[in-house]
Symmetry: C2
Subunit: 528 residues, 2 copies
């Protein structure tokens, strides 16, 4: 009986294809003496244009055949002459490959028999990773990962959607790409690249931190020095670093209700017990917060004062002052997440909490990702020098050297004024889009959703009325080509809100029209 085996051939660097090859004549037991009759001409593909030496390609492909179980221990290989003829290669090349395989004990050169696959190989089993067994990884620490599943792996395929509504991402089409490429080119100059490659600053690139300090002091009414600043891969890493240093398992952490999901999940992963404080039109409610602080030993407060995530409200002056008083009275550790500060459409001059009086208690976290776009992951943490140095050490263990290349590139954008120009331009555009979407929803969907127009940021928080369960709306809209990525708060995830964020900053007016049109149709289909 002849067995046909599907052989996956990977031609160097370019193609994968499947080939049905007759392999063995089977009669009760596998016999290997025919292995030198394997169709090597088909099985082995040499790419002469490749940079890998031909003999190495040959050796590697033999190793693959052995590992895949196509050449079993004891199998005889064709003579160098035969194989050279088959493959149209020089005999010396075949010799070099066989010698390499002998050196590494894959094959033996046997007297009078020629080359054969070694019998002393450990039983090679193909595809060690192609297994579902947990093996040594039974019981790995997957605590807190359950909810992440639905967040990371969305149910609606983006590839098949005409319109994708995100969480509030910037519009990548207005990015000053040429200016970025110019700065990137400067950074790749030998002297710069050599300098940033040799130096190691666990707190982040000094050039970047210097320019960022000036930017932050100017835009946020701060007065910090470089020693107060650590740069990171996006705000998320900064939150991770701060929270990991602060939280011990069992600690109580206060967050708003609702709050930024990935921060809550992270705190829970670190073992925190979350206490939730409501959010209203003036932001986090500080009176119930004070009650909580009186009655609990709270380790950390996580707060988002500007364009709160997900609800988009901004903390009022009264609440801001009350919160600063509480921070002092309870000597409270605080993470202030100010991811969206740079986008304000009315004159809305609330400074960060961190610019107030808090005796160093507030760890201020921000990001340039909302300025430049999601692929540009650049965050930062502002804290006392002592805390920054601890965070830098933890960062070194997680992410040795940080993102010096992007940091240097963006330094150029800050110093040339390009970043400030871009923020100004983006503010103008996003403000228009915020108006447009708000008007559109008021006109088209006022019976379906409630929302309050935010003073800044990149998203609306759409609260669907109870007659319109969000999970059904989203599912229906998905069938009509509208996908939501990001914060959808339905029964699966923080279900009691029946609300979602609708990022307007990256959408053209026509796209917003179509998205609202689809939501309208989804809503109508539920009522019928």
């Amino acid at each position: 009986m002849t067995i046909f085996l599907n052989v996956r051939l990977t031609i160097f660097r370019h193609f994968d294809f499947i080939w049905s090859v007759p392999i063995f004549d089977l009669c009760n037991e596998v016999t290997d003496k025919f292995s030198d009759m394997l169709p090597y001409k088909n099985l082995i593909v040499i790419d002469k244009k490749s940079n890998v030496a031909v003999y190495k390609q040959l050796a590697l492909q033999f190793i693959n055949l052995i590992q895949e179980g196509k050449l079993l221990p004891g199998a005889e290989l064709p003579s160098t002459r035969t194989l050279a003829n088959d493959l149209q290669l020089h005999r010396k090349t075949i010799m070099a490959a066989y010698n390499a395989l002998v050196t590494e004990d894959w094959i033996d050169n046997l007297p009078r028999k020629g080359y054969a696959v070694s019998l002393r190989l450990p039983v090679v089993r193909p595809r060690s990773y192609n297994t579902n067994r947990l093996g040594a990884y039974k019981g790995i620490s997957s605590f807190g990962f359950e909810k992440l599943e639905t967040v990371i792996y969305p149910s609606v395929s983006l590839a098949h959607s005409r319109i994708v509504v995100n969480d509030g991402f910037p519009d990548i089409s207005i990015l000053p790409a040429e200016a970025i490429i110019k700065e990137y080119r400067n950074v790749l100059e030998y002297t710069t690249l050599n300098r940033i490659g040799t130096e190691w600053h666990a707190e982040g690139s000094p050039d970047f931190r210097k320019s960022l300090c000036t930017f932050l002091n100017q835009t946020r009414g701060m007065d910090i020095g470089m020693d107060n600043l650590l740069t990171s891969r996006g705000a998320q890493m900064a939150i991770y670093l701060a929270a990991s240093l602060i939280i011990q398992p069992g600690d109580k952490v206060v967050v708003s209700d609702p709050s930024y999901l990935l921060a809550s999940m992270l705190f829970e992963r670190l073992g925190a017990e979350l206490i939730r404080v409501p959010v209203d039109e003036e932001g986090m409610c500080t009176v119930p917060l004070e009650e909580i602080l009186k009655n609990n030993d709270v380790r950390l407060l996580y707060v988002i004062p500007h364009h709160h995530h997900p609800t988009t409200v901004t903390l009022s002056v009264q609440r801001r002052n009350h919160l600063l008083q509480l921070i002092k009275a309870y000597d409270l550790a605080v993470i202030e997440d100010d991811y969206d500060y740079d986008f304000r459409y009315q004159y809305d001059p609330y400074l960060p909490l961190a610019s107030g009086d808090h005796g160093g208690n507030i760890i201020y976290i921000g990001s340039l990702t909302k300025v430049l776009g999601t692929p540009f992951r650049l965050g930062y943490m502002i804290a006392t020098q002592e805390f920054v140095q601890s965070a830098a050490k933890l960062r070194a263990l997680i992410d040795l050297r940080g993102e010096v290349l992007m940091e240097q590139t963006v330094t150029g954008l800050i110093d040339s004024g390009e970043l400030a120009r871009h923020i100004k331009k983006a503010n103008k555009l996003y403000a228009q889009r915020c108006d447009f979407l708000s008007d559109l929803i008021n006109d088209e969907l006022s019976d379906v959703v409630d929302f309050t127009k935010p003073t800044g940021g990149m998203a609306l928080w759409l609260k669907f009325k109870p007659t319109f369960p969000l999970s059904k709306i989203v599912k229906k809209a998905g069938t009509m080509g509208l996908a939501f990525t990001g914060s959808v708060y339905n029964e699966d995830v923080n279900g009691r809100f029946n609300a979602c964020r609708f990022g307007f900053a990256s959408l053209q007016e026509e796209e917003m029209k179509e998205a609202i049109h689809i939501l309208r149709k989804s809503a109508d289909s539920l009522v019928k």
Copy 2:
């Protein structure tokens, strides 16, 4: 009495300077009624070319003055007419700034008195971060950071060194910079940027993982699919992710002696108890390892088979096979750190352990940082699909979206064959430098150091003879302009080795000559 105060002025985006300004007449109490006589013309600097509106610049600078305590509560501000005249601005601009400050409760518009700093402000204390108090951050988790101090903050200034010997970094001068810029430009095209900005793949960019799969299967005799691959910020993050999932406080982790410092520190930070196994000329000694496995409940083995860090030895075939047997027999969790695989100067065809038979137990970690240079932080982890998905979830909590921009750029380099060409070129150059440095040390320093020429990698492991204490040598060399970054194992750090890594890959022959010359002189100075 007139007080002179040093006022730091930050002119927008460019300069910082200190100005001595007479501020208050003090007679027992601070009187603020002269505050409208403050030299605003000097204190406030408007940058008309800036993109920040002039009224905003003005408002922010007033806020700064209030926050710095230069304008105390109740202090009267100059009239709009006076200030307009002083600053040569339109009165409406001053009005806009004052109105903004009133809106935000920084100042009041008092009947018959004009504008004055609000009395209802919380007592603004300048520079909350300029404090040494630990406050809320007493007892933050700095466990395991002690040893990191000397690693992160080196004692010798690099800026004042003529030659810097690193740990084994690639030569950045041979980087295909134009090809990288070309690929970077392609990635910044709207469609690509929009796609990678919209999609979210916690395991890393699918394009990159696909190309990397082919590269790894071809070069390392593996047979993995995309689902087995997670990309990360350098190998360090991959080690962090794997170790964090596996290690619980109190777990026993086996490492070599010596081992890669930052991995050991990370394991200790996670609460592991380290058990150390000696390394000899054939790599990690597997016989004592077997003894350890017999007598201990070992949670994890960390191993570096190729060009072991720091000692540069490669695991022999016998040890490799023994290790694979032990992994199976004890169903052992293993992190294989193969940071340096791509650089081999003799035909040295040992495949990674991960290409062998281990039933999915080996987590294989590698990096492109050694190929492209330290600023290019790109690492990866190979594991079973199940483990990769857990690691992806943890990565999302630490570093939301990963490094898509660089991943896409390097995808282009892999697909065009540029990366393979670069590796080939680098191998040739580094092999020459390895020979050159080895010969040089044999000629010049054989009475001072012992070393074994490695079969690949980017560094020599120089074992100084007992008469030459490394800490003294390094200190003396520092005074002559030679600095070591990276792995110096003297009494401060893993002291019993009196050895250091000498990276040759990035040094010109003249530089190596001078470095060895300085080491010679340092050694001589100790003998005298």
